[in-house]
Structures are given as structure tokens and as C-alpha cells.
Amino acid sequence: MSRYSRQTQLKDFGPEGQQRLSEGKILVVGLGGLGLPALQYLNAMGVGTLGLMDQDVIELHNLQRQVLYTEQDLGRQKLEVVHEKLTAQNSNTHFKLYDTFLTKDNALEIINEYDLVIDATDNFPTRYLINDACVLLKKPFVYGALHSFEGHVSVFNYQNGPTYRCLYPNMPSVEEVPNCSENGVLGVIPGIIGTFQALEAIKILTGIGEVLSGKLLLFDGLSQSSTKIGFKLNPENLKLTRLQDFYEPLDCEVVPAISAADFQLVLDSKTDITLLDVRTEAEFNDRNLKEAINVPLDRLELASKHINAADKVYVLCQSGKRSEVAVKQLQIQYPNIEFFNVLGGMNQITALCP
């Protein structure tokens, strides 16, 4: 009995279906709640090439729904862990790893190598970027999104069908719809929506069944009911000629943070604080706050001698991005110390006190 016999014996799938899977190339953007169940099944079923993209590390509150991760994996790179586990599951699969966020600078080049994209991200900017890149490259993408007990699924840009912008022409502002973890989700819902996404991807690759194009599936877990909403192509949305200048990719892992303005108040209060500046030595020397200790991000181990006595540590960089990464790593190493990322970093502080 062969590895895939249970599906190759299906009349409407057969060895032809298996062959198409083995030639298929799927990019999965996001290794979280949606990406993991989708990948587990795509890999089990024998999709030939899987692209994996994520930059986050595994945190405790991921484990409630991100089922590929174990307690021992806490603090490790998602990308590395997923690659390890999927390789053990199916050594025939060819994996490509992208230790990056999807950005307007890399999206076209990366997506171009694949037959389709699974959108398993958790933020609007990346969803719009995937949409626009897929429209430009004429690739379908399988959309999945979650809200509490609810999930949405559709296949956009399939054979010149409707796109994400045909449903939602413009990106909602941060104020209007919660992003990322601001809204919770029942742990099992991403399992359902992620496997729905895998199913649609399989249908696109093999040509079996009816692809969920021009239809938005709304799944409600509380009532265990599915509603399909039909929608049409707005041809304007296929007329993109290039990506937007700006999609402001968001990292949705929440890191304890303090606004630059509030941080200014802390500074002004003249109490003793522990402040790490994780920029490079050159940047630090160029301009810095007198309370700051320079611990460059790539030498974070030097932090130990400065923070061991503290119970509260502020972390700063130029824009707030590197300091966020630093806070994540420090949180894992020093679980008893509270770390705060200074939002907007030196840029924002300079703006406040030019």
C-alpha cells in the first residue's frame, strides 16, 4: 500500500491528482493559527514545494491554537521549528524558508515562484499586499481570517475572478477594525479555517471540485453554520500596474510597550530607571539619551550585567522595531523582569523634544 493510496484510490482524484500535488508550489505567509493546520495537511498530502514565511518566535499564548508548537519550542523561531517538524512528517517535500516579513520590496519576486499563496497572516497591510502582488502576478490566493468564534474564507484572483479589493476596496484604519490579538479567538477555529484553506489550495492545484471563487464563506462556530456570500469582480481592481508605496507591515505579536509621550513623563520624573538602547554603537554615539545603556541587538547577552537588579526595564531603538525584537527575546530569558518597548523609538522622542 503506497503512502498516498487512501486518496489516489479516489476516482475523482487518482494518481493524476497526486501527480499534480507533487508538482504544486504553495507559499504560506504566516506560521500561526491558520498557517500551521494548512501546512500540516498540505505536507501530509504530498504537495511538492512549500514556502514558509514568518519572523516571529514562539510565545506561550500561541500554544492555545498553534498546534505544531510544544512547550519546549518557546522562544525559538517559528520558521525553524516548522521546518524541522514538517521535514520529519514528509521528507519528500521541498521547503523554502523566508526569514522575513512580506514587504513591497520582496513580495513580487517571492510570490512569482509559486502557483498560489495561502494568506495566513494576521493583519490588514499584509493581506492587501498579498492581494495586490497576486493581482499583478495573476496568481490565486486563498484567504482566511478569524474573529472570536468566526472565520472567513475565500479564494481571490482565481482565473481572473474577484479580488480581495472587490469585497473591501480600501484598507480599514487601525481604529476601525481591531488588528491581530486585540481580538481573541477560540483555539479550534483556526484549525477549521486553516484546513478549509488547505482544501481550497488542493482544489486549485488538482482541478477537482468547485473552487470558492466569487464567494465569501462565513463560518460561525457557535451555531456551527456556514453562509456563502456571492460577490462580483470589479474590473478596476485588476488594473493595478504596481504595488502601493506603503503597506506598513505590522508585527502582531503584542509586546508590552509604552508610548514615547508616556516614556517622556517617566524620564521627567527623575526616578532611577533602567533603559537599554539596542541600536548599534555608531548610532548610539551619534545621539542618545543620557539614561541609556548601549546594548546592540546582536549582542543582547551583554544586557545581563545591567538588568539583573531591575524589576522594570525600558528598551529603545531608532524606530521601535529592533527594540520590540529585543523585548521578545529578553522576556524569554528574564521571565521575572518587566520589559517595555518604547514605541516609535528615538524618532518619536526626537519628535517630541526636538
Binding site: N170, P172, C180, I229
Partner: protein, 84 residues
């Protein structure tokens, strides 16, 4: 007229569905189009006005603002959702 709520509209209203009167004894204006429905709902639940990209479906199909609605139509409010 019953309206099915999805995503954050469910949280704003605090229930999975919403009833809109189809004949008014209070003299309140009854919505006759999708656009009027949006205004009507925005007056009752001001937070809905914030949603710049709220899709509305009538009888399981995406509807433009000028589409006419009446009492036996099945309506759904579908904001974008972002979680993943």
C-alpha cells in the same frame, strides 16, 4: 427585516442578529436602500459609522449602496476581519 451580523458588528451590537422595523408607527424613516440602511444603523449604533469598509449582503449577495431592500430580504453586515 432581520440582519445577520459578522465580525466586529456582532460585538458592537452585542448580538448575532438585529431586527429593523419595516413599518414605522413612530414616524421614523424606514430604510429602502442599502445606503439608507447604513445611515439608519449608524444612527442607532454610532460605532458602526467608523467602519469605512463594511460590506453589506442582500440575499447572500454583495450589494451596492443603491440596491433597494425590502422586508423579506435577508441582510448581512460583513466587516473585514484580520485575525490569523
Amino acid at each position: 427585516m432581520t440582519i445577520l451580523l459578522f465580525g466586529i458588528t456582532k460585538d458592537i451590537v452585542g448580538a448575532p442578529t438585529l431586527s429593523v422595523p419595516t413599518s414605522s408607527i413612530t414616524g421614523k424613516k424606514i430604510p429602502k436602500t442599502v445606503k439608507e440602511l447604513r445611515t439608519f444603523l449608524g444612527n442607532t449604533y454610532p460605532e458602526l459609522n467608523k467602519l469605512s469598509s463594511l460590506a453589506v449582503a442582500v440575499n447572500n449577495n454583495y450589494a451596492e449602496d443603491d440596491q433597494i431592500i425590502n422586508s423579506y430580504d435577508e441582510i448581512a453586515l460583513i466587516p473585514p476581519v484580520s485575525g490569523g
